[in-house]
């Protein structure tokens, strides 16, 4: 239970931190190697791009979790309480529907890459599907976050508490 709670709080953070540091580290080190030793590994321009995929889609999930996605919320803030709750439900339905489309078609891409033993350009044995997996994985997690938020909104609605409606653009 403790582990689950910790994962719930940190799962996106772990992936984002590892991928961000690795991506920036590869670029930083390779620029220096090129300057000082005139050499550069061939995968230094491909692996960081694939790591970027993990950062982007888990970042997207994290923004759903902290309700930070960009939106125009002036009208929603002025709606009656029930209307605000209906809007929050609408958000959840839309996220889940879009996630279903994304997961379906990106999973196809992952299988295709897996079946073809596609490797990352410039490497001998790094599989592309490890990175392509980012999108269906992150969107599945996103659905979970949407449901968590919806549950919390429902609890607020039942208790008559105000909703968390402001876009939280700069983090939690």
């Amino acid at each position: 239970m403790v582990l689950l709670r910790w994962l719930d709080a940190n799962v996106e953070k772990i992936f984002i931190l590892i991928c961000y540091v690795t991506m920036a580290g590869i670029i930083f080190v390779e620029v220096f190697r090129r300057f000082l030793f005139n050499e550069q590994v061939p995968w230094s321009t491909t692996v960081p791009v694939y790591l970027f995929l993990w950062i982007v889609w888990l970042g997207c999930t994290y923004n759903v979790k902290i309700r930070a996605h960009l939106r125009f919320d002036e009208l929603r803030l002025r709606l009656p309480y029930g209307g605000q709750f209906a809007c929050l439900c609408l958000d959840a339905v839309l996220w889940i529907t879009f996630a279903a489309i994304v997961i379906t078609y990106t999973t196809e891409q992952v299988w295709l890459s897996y079946d073809n033993f596609a490797i990352v350009q410039g490497t001998d044995d790094v599989m592309q599907w490890w990175f392509y997996l980012a999108t269906p994985f992150a969107w599945s997690l996103l659905v979970f976050r949407v449901l968590q938020n919806l549950w919390s909104d429902y609890a607020d609605f039942r208790a008559g508490r105000p909703f968390n409606l402001h876009a939280n653009i700069f983090g939690d």
Partner: protein, 462 residues
Amino acid sequence: MDGLWITLISLGVTGLFLLGVPIFLVIGFWVVGVSLVIDFTLANIGVTLYEGLNFFGLLALPLFILTGDLIKSAGIAKRLSDFAYSILGWLRGGLAMASLGACGLFAAISGSNSATTATIGSIMHPEMVKGGYDKNFAAATAAAGGTVGIIIPPSIIFIVYGFLMNLSISDLFIGGLIPGCLMVVAMQTVCWFICQRNGWGHLITFQLLRSAKMAVGAWLGFFAILLVIWGIYTGAFSPTEAAGVTAGFCLLVGLIMYPFAKRLLPASDGSPGALPDDAGFLQRLLIPGFSFAELPGVIMRSGQITGLLAPLIAVSVVMQQLLSLLGADAFVTEALSGLGGYYAILFACMLIVLLAGTVLESLPNTIILAPILAPIAASIGVDPIHFAVIFLVGDAIGFITPPYGLNLYVASGITGIPYFRLLKYTMPYLGALIVAWLLIAFIPELSTILLVNKGAGVYQLQ
């Protein structure tokens, strides 16, 4: 029949936008709806969510975001603001003008409008209120000042524009340098007039030695600015590499200096980087930096902003593909070509960018409109780099135009001033920016002179 359905879908998603549905979903559902209507496979969405982001140059985006966050956490934003005040404090409204100057300096490191507003606004707004400025005007200054974030290089939006239009990102960065400075000067001029009329701000004497001391305190900021501009201008680095090197350098300096700064710098009064007037040379050289323990928080903030912007890029690329399939570019070209000559078409393009910027976020605005408008501009002989700058200045102005002005949201969030009240106080700055925009459009040299000097006049089509 398809046309009717597409109109209904467009109206439907506009309704979703007004109801506060995230912009990513608004664009996403337009894409899904139109794909279904024209019987275009939804698998394209899946593919483009990978391929739309599969470009090495785009990595400059997360890396410049990280650089901005590292500089901010290291306490340099405060030092840059103090430096700007030491230069402009002798003028009426000097603190507000210094805020705009600090926005320009921070923009030269970060590359994001909203981050510039948030960082400089959170430092300078309380100072301005303390200094006797109207709190609404002070917040509007932060919101407007942030608009240069994406024009003064490095710039996230220039990276995306270059990626889309196959233009050199380095040349775009160089093209934005003078127009970005012009925007700052235009806003400072208006700011001076307003402050002069209202008698806001206390005058301080200009002292060269004091400014030099402040400049020493902000050395890391200046070093980062010079590293990026030198690296890109000389071609030593690609923008992505420049971003990686700057981020790595700021990270190392921040971590190394932290233990020394903790021992040798006086305790901060809440704004990291603040120095007493009698601080010695060594103390000024030291920056507060950050500990290892703080680092995950800094990187996560960058990860969050990346996760906010990059998905919008991916989904907007799909929207652009569909618009192209629907023949939107041919339609717009035909409509605009009937308008007449060079300036009529150029102003029509500018008007479209400005109007779209009132409702669209800058990234979707660029991704959707640039591939449609840039070829039209090129066909009438506008230099592609010049048009890119015109387009993106219009995009930047969209950050303070209602109903959707992201900088107004950010400034409202950090100052607690209601969105619509802020809007009113931003209007004079909007006027100044539009004048600067017209100058940038009328005088191509503002965007191209540095390029020509660099020997990159290959873009000249005329």
